[in-house]
Symmetry: C2
Subunit: 331 residues, 2 copies
DNA sequence: TTGTAGGCGTTATCAC
DNA sequence: GTGATAACGCCTACAA
């Protein structure tokens, strides 16, 4: 007999007790004789009994697993967030089912359905954004969820995200204070709230210094190194006048730096570059950036979700985590 | 009534049929009147019925989910592999439970137990290595599994990994051909088979050119950027004579490059640097490296596992994927 | 073509 | 302290 075929029934038979006495022993319930318990535990161990969570989930209506839906599991930002989620999950005896939604509405919809079918206890999601906010339509399941790294207006959902207005402000202020006059804001498409917040911060800094924004220096590209690289080459070719660049994230900044270096533009002397996220490689290339507490976002997101699952909190949480400027050598 | 509380029983009642007629309709079985089927499907849709996979898994003894155990889910190599696994998983209507084993035997053991309890249909694992090979002891469950990115002697396990002997050879040969005389091999601890293979390749190249290896130029450090950075500083401080470095992976190479740059050592003029893996950032910093088909490793690993699960293949697969030199600007 | 009955492995309720 | 029984929701014989 295979080990994972052994059931409490088998143990009961050998121990000469009923199945629910076995259940009691295995689940540390009271109302059981210490000696029978010990005996049962021994038999279970000897037989190599492995509990069937599938069965207990059915009975308990709890799967002790959560679903995690990311737009792109390869994005270093999400990788770090995932690490935080995974850690918290493990610490609380939960498991996690991961799905890469590939920034695609249809896949997101389908994934959500699968999560519902699996009866996950809760969902952590970074919703797909394509211009419109279709998110609300999608989640009409009765599953607790919290949104990670984004904010939706008019939706009563739990959210945890970074203070991107502050981040945009700190970055821009830093550039201005270091002599930046023509500051390009290299933003991305499809990030309504996040990119808008960073833009607001950018604007705020300009206002604080009584400067006016040159809208011609604001660009939106795909969230991709090569797109940033190419765009920067364009700036150079078209002889756009700029002395600093605030990039939507570190990945874009990498592309920018590569393009500048290849054109012998000195960083930071000719052009200052600042990124966003502070992903792990940024310290190596000495990129100045805004640090987001990624691990913490994931870790806390799980705990917010857990409270929802256990009905400990009824009110909606909108958690906004602090960010900080990390000054390195590209500014 | 919540949508996920609706069962086939409810549908049966409304449709005025028995529950297994509903089951037949829902599962596209033959032997059902097309009209009753249509009616049932409509009712199911209207009620917002969501199948309970927990229940069907119990009945079918199939969970349609696999477990993925990685030493470190944050390592870019595994991130890419995971992407491949996730894609293949999704395409085959499977799901994936992810656990970060934190390079720790105890966590690995515990995680494996959880996977067994969840009755995953199969496991994809990059086993923890700490000097000894304790892996065999751990997997004595009756669950199909395939080992990713590693090879164990004397174990009849399915494995998929890269041709690291070739990779080590290509890297070293490239350095020698470009004038490398004193080639440091910066390897890591805890990677018995992989690091040993790369070493064998290194050795092979030396032999081919009738050179003798200087064992004083072989080092083992932790698999960590900062460790590589510090070690390189040591080389410089101790005035070790070297003109090139073959790094165990790209991450180490990043640390090395940083240290060299800070000490005004020109790359590749004074020192050539070559990495391994070709993770995504390496193209940006123009690191010469050995490319491993990471996505493919994950993607194919799933398919090997799937065949095991479906009993399509009884023999053991040892798949060794090809690698290639990617010449960029650090050599 | 459809229905009845039983069981997957666990846990909760209740009685003893 | 312990046991019998039912139930979680689904699927599969088998019978009708």
């Amino acid at each position: 007999m295979k080990k994972n075929d052994i059931t409490i029934k088998d143990i009961a038979k050998i121990a000469g007790v009923s199945i629910n006495t076995v259940s009691r022993a295995l689940n540390n319930k009271p109302d059981i004789n210490i000696k029978t318990k010990k005996k049962i535990l021994e038999i279970a161990k000897e037989l190599g009994y492995i509990k069937n969570i599938t069965a207990s989930s059915l009975r308990n209506k709890k799967t002790k697993t959560i679903g995690v839906l990311f737009k792109d599991i390869t994005n270093p930002f999400f990788v770090e967030v995932l690490k935080g989620i995974e850690k918290a999950t493990k610490e609380n005896d939960y498991s996690l089912v991961l799905m890469d939604v590939e920034n695609d509405f249809e896949i997101e919809k389908k994934s959500l359905k699968i999560m519902a079918e699996k009866r996950v206890d809760g969902i952590l999601i970074s919703p797909v954004r394509k211009g419109k906010n279709n998110f609300k339509k999608i989640i009409n399941l009765n599953i607790p969820y919290v949104i990670i790294g984004d904010h939706f207006e008019n939706i009563d959902a739990d959210e945890i995200y970074a203070n991107d207005v502050k981040g945009g402000y700190l970055a821009t202020k830093h550039l201005i204070e270091n002599g930046g006059k023509n500051i390009i804001f290299l933003s991305v498409k499809n990030h309504n709230f996040v990119s808008y917040s960073r833009f607001l911060g950018y604007k705020k800094a300009f206002e604080e210094f009584n400067l006016t924004i040159n809208k011609k220096l604001i660009f939106e590209i795909d969230e991709d190194v090569n797109a940033a690289y190419k765009k920067t080459i364009e700036f150079i070719d078209e002889k756009i006048s700029f002395d600093s660049m605030f990039c939507f994230n570190d990945i874009l900044a990498y592309g920018v730096i590569k393009a500048l270096r290849e054109n012998n533009i000195k960083i930071p002397d000719d052009v200052m570059v600042i990124g966003y996220d502070d992903i792990i490689y940024s310290s190596i290339i000495d990129l100045t950036t805004i640090r987001i507490p990624k691990f913490e976002i994931g870790y806390r997101a799980f705990h917010i979700l857990l409270d929802k699952i256990n009905n400990k909190s009824k009110e909606i949480s909108k958690i906004i985590l602090d960010v900080e400027l990390v000054k390195r050598k590209t500014t």
